[in-house]
Symmetry: C2
């Protein structure tokens, strides 16, 4: 847990990871989207690479120089669950932001719940934490 806190425990990393989840993989795109200082973004990406949450993948458009994009590793992909839960929490308590539904649907192709589920398969919630993302 302390380790998890070290990974996502700062204001920007969480947002950067969300962008990665959204499919934003390029430096400038992230920078423009988040408004994060380039120096900070650079540092965070480097940290996430070192932690194995992101990896660089080379690509090139026709005739262009080779470039890199930042994509989630399996380890990074698994952060989707906590992150989506967190987004939903933010949506619920901080009205005015964008909805989470888009992200989930784009990445799973299905409407989903996120919640605690008992071994029997019946939904169990902690407080009112269970929710439906998309009808």
């Amino acid at each position: 847990m302390a380790a998890a806190a070290n990974v996502i425990g700062d204001r920007w990393t969480l947002l950067i990871l969300r962008e990665a989840l959204y499919g934003v993989t390029r430096f400038d795109a992230m920078q423009a989207e988040l408004g994060v200082p380039r120096t900070v973004l650079s540092g965070r990406l480097k940290k996430l690479l070192a932690e194995g949450v992101l990896k660089q993948r080379p690509y090139r458009k026709a005739g262009e120089r080779i470039r890199y994009q930042y994509v989630l590793t399996p380890k990074g992909v698994e952060l989707a669950l906590p992150m989506i839960a967190l987004m939903e929490w933010g949506d619920k308590y901080c009205r005015g932001g964008a909805s989470t539904a888009d992200v989930v649907e784009r990445n799973t192709g299905a409407a989903c719940h996120v919640g605690l589920v008992s071994d029997a398969g019946a939904p169990v919630s902690i407080g009112a934490a269970q929710f439906r993302v998309k009808g």
Copy 2:
């Protein structure tokens, strides 16, 4: 999401919230458990109170002066889901730490999964994110 990041986006807050989830509600207990500087703990608790994630509840032992303990509000309780998911992630990728199973069982009284679940009720995972906490 950005708002959620502001709440839990720092190294200590996440740990403090975990303690609250564990049932540790008193200042010194948290301080001893986490090793966090008292000044920092004080500041974080104040911030969490202001955000409505924690509230103070008065209590007194026989004959003692009145004291306060920090307990989760409904808003705070709902952070359990993202947090448990996060703990599980940490457990998986950072071996050697304590298991998450204790927390879940203590607070729900039941063995649970945390995962994405389709509307039909069948489990859906993002990557391999779905997991079983306790058999």
